[in-house]
Symmetry: C2
Subunit: 210 residues, 2 copies
């Protein structure tokens, strides 16, 4: 086993450290966040930090990196309160990746990267036509994380659109049936295949592990 201490990590070359530390949390979800500016310019950006907060109320959060000249997603969300979260699938993985380039505010990543804005249910943010799981989110709260100037952005689910064949009888989504991908680090994308499903864990029905 290779051992890195905190001091070792601090002294790593900057890009090596970014690659390493962005890998250690494990696989990450691949989502495109869609917004629209007050001027009507649509915006789309890939995020790997969407995290489940709770089912009732249905809340999701994501981590906004320190705001520089960019941060169009964040500013649009603060301006109109609406955003969409759209799952990346195998068919659009390269186009999704390149939404992370630093486009000017007047350029739509939809157009630049060959993805199609879709307006659904009168919602004031664009969904991604090519995605098979799309979520309409209403901004609820932001929590600044002073430690490193990131921001946790929390929203509530107002609309869910899911390819019907992927919804299991118990309500869970077979993400492999919508060609879902996951991310490792900053640049690697992975296919998945179903390995196992286990029941809700009860002490009274524990397998014999010993």
């Amino acid at each position: 086993m290779k051992h890195f201490t905190q001091t070792d990590i601090q002294h790593l070359e900057r890009f090596y450290r970014a690659n390493l530390i962005n890998s250690v949390s494990g696989y990450k979800p691949a989502n495109l966040i869609g917004t629209v500016s007050a001027d009507g310019v649509t915006n789309l950006a890939i995020f790997s930090s969407v995290v489940h907060l709770g089912a009732d109320p249905a809340l999701l959060a994501f981590i906004q990196r320190p705001l520089g000249e960019q941060g169009h997603t964040y500013h649009n969300i603060k301006e109109n309160g609406c955003y969409t979260i759209n799952h990346v699938n195998r068919q659009i993985v390269e186009r999704a990746h390149y939404t992370s380039a630093k486009f000017d505010a007047d350029v739509s990543e939809f157009e630049a990267c060959g993805l199609t804005p879709e307006w659904l249910a009168g919602f004031h943010a664009p969904f991604v036509l090519e995605s098979q799981v799309k979520i309409g989110m209403r901004f609820v709260q932001e929590i600044p994380i002073a430690l490193n100037n990131t921001i946790m952005v929390i929203g509530q689910i107002e609309h869910l659109f899911i390819a019907e064949h992927a919804i299991r009888d118990n309500g869970s989504i077979a993400l492999d049936q919508v060609d879902g991908v996951c991310i490792s680090g900053l640049e690697s994308y992975y296919n998945t295949s179903h390995l196992a499903a286990f029941p809700y864990a009860k002490i009274s029905a524990l397998p014999d592990f010993i």
Copy 2:
């Protein structure tokens, strides 16, 4: 496409809603968090909410569910400041899943689920011997999320142990080379296979998507 509105979601049967909403963020990382109580009882629990906060300083967060009678992980972290995050792999996926059963505080999930505590580098929390990516974490800050009584627990990386063959030249970890798995919803585990890697996205080197 199946469409659920916010009202539809509120009126879903409780377990159906939990399965559905726990699936919509996409694939989640599978990690075991290891701690030890003041009485010396080791504790191990699976979490799917570990999220990258930043590389410099190297910070990870996870979401602690509302504290009930359980919450041994959280209380141990608050007591001694140390915890470990250990990647779940294919070989231990079933044992890892069952750490989520509601064991009493005086029972070690290591023992009950057939996993091996490992003490490394004098760190005051147990790592998982069977894991190939293990992280020693120092508690830094907790952020209560009043919306649903969850808590964001933030820590800094003090130690990293990684199977050496899985570290790429650029510092990223080939998670498939350590048999890493990901989670969907509350019960499904997925294998992965490498799909693609793309360079840092620059506008000057955009593929021709049109």
